[in-house]
Symmetry: C2
Subunit: 154 residues, 2 copies
């Protein structure tokens, strides 16, 4: 049994690679970009979430009373780029989630280089992000974010 | 990357080991016992389901229009006992689903030996099955099945 391959299998079903956006008028670009990798499980599966947390040696676990889920989440761009992304390059996802991952890895790399502070790159980040997580819902429409970007001068 | 370990990881999140029951007045026991192992995925992940189907070399895939899912399912007791169960003994589940699996494997073994045709064993199968799949719903209450069993003479 290879636990690293097991983790990739589990994440292929249950994990989430997400780039989310928030309006932040205090930022020059007007838009905050927030990448995250997460796994949520019902509390009955807490031990497995802890085991995966231990495996990646970064991120944090928290409990949501609303849905009785434990969520393991990594938001630090450093941890994403040095621990999470290298794992999934070495042990690749086998399903549709591989598409999400590839976009996610590319965007994290841009953020790690601070390129999201540049309007051209941020535009690219927004359009690429909206090609991820087909089944999910988003707070803002893509056009709305791009409009904010057009109004800013960065 | 070890695909066998990957499969176990994927199943730990997305797979289902189930023992279901149907009332069958034509059977001596009055109750049909049906074990199954299955994985359901949205059609966008069809290729991965096909890959897992190919890995186990048994069972069948079918499409459900209702939820746009592909389901890979193994119902044959022979295939369950000679292909599915040995895999998860060699590459063990790491989460709560391991409990379900252990009960499932024990019950399949009894069925493979035709012990479910015996009232005492069938009673055991019913009570053990109802300890599986905590989050699921069941057509019949356990007490109802046991009552049917009490009324039959096997």
């Amino acid at each position: 049994m290879d636990f690293a391959s097991f983790v990739t299998g589990f994440v292929d079903g249950e994990g989430c690679f997400l780039i989310s956006f928030n309006k932040r008028s205090k930022l020059k670009s007007g838009i905050e970009v927030r990448p995250s990798f997460s796994i949520s499980q019902h509390k009955r599966n807490k031990k497995l979430v802890e085991k995966i947390h231990g495996f990646f040696r970064c991120g944090a676990m928290r409990f949501s009373r609303r849905d009785e889920n434990y969520k393991f989440e990594v938001r630090s761009i450093h941890d994403l780029c040095t621990r999470i992304i290298p794992h999934f390059k070495q042990f690749p996802l086998q399903g549709k989630k591989q598409n999400d991952f590839q976009i996610f890895a590319e965007i994290c790399d841009l953020i790690y280089q601070s390129k999201h502070l540049n309007s051209k790159h941020l535009r690219h980040i927004i359009t690429e992000s909206y090609r991820m997580n087909e089944s999910g819902t988003r707070r803002y429409k893509q056009a709305e974010l791009l409009r904010i970007l057009d109004e800013m001068k960065i």
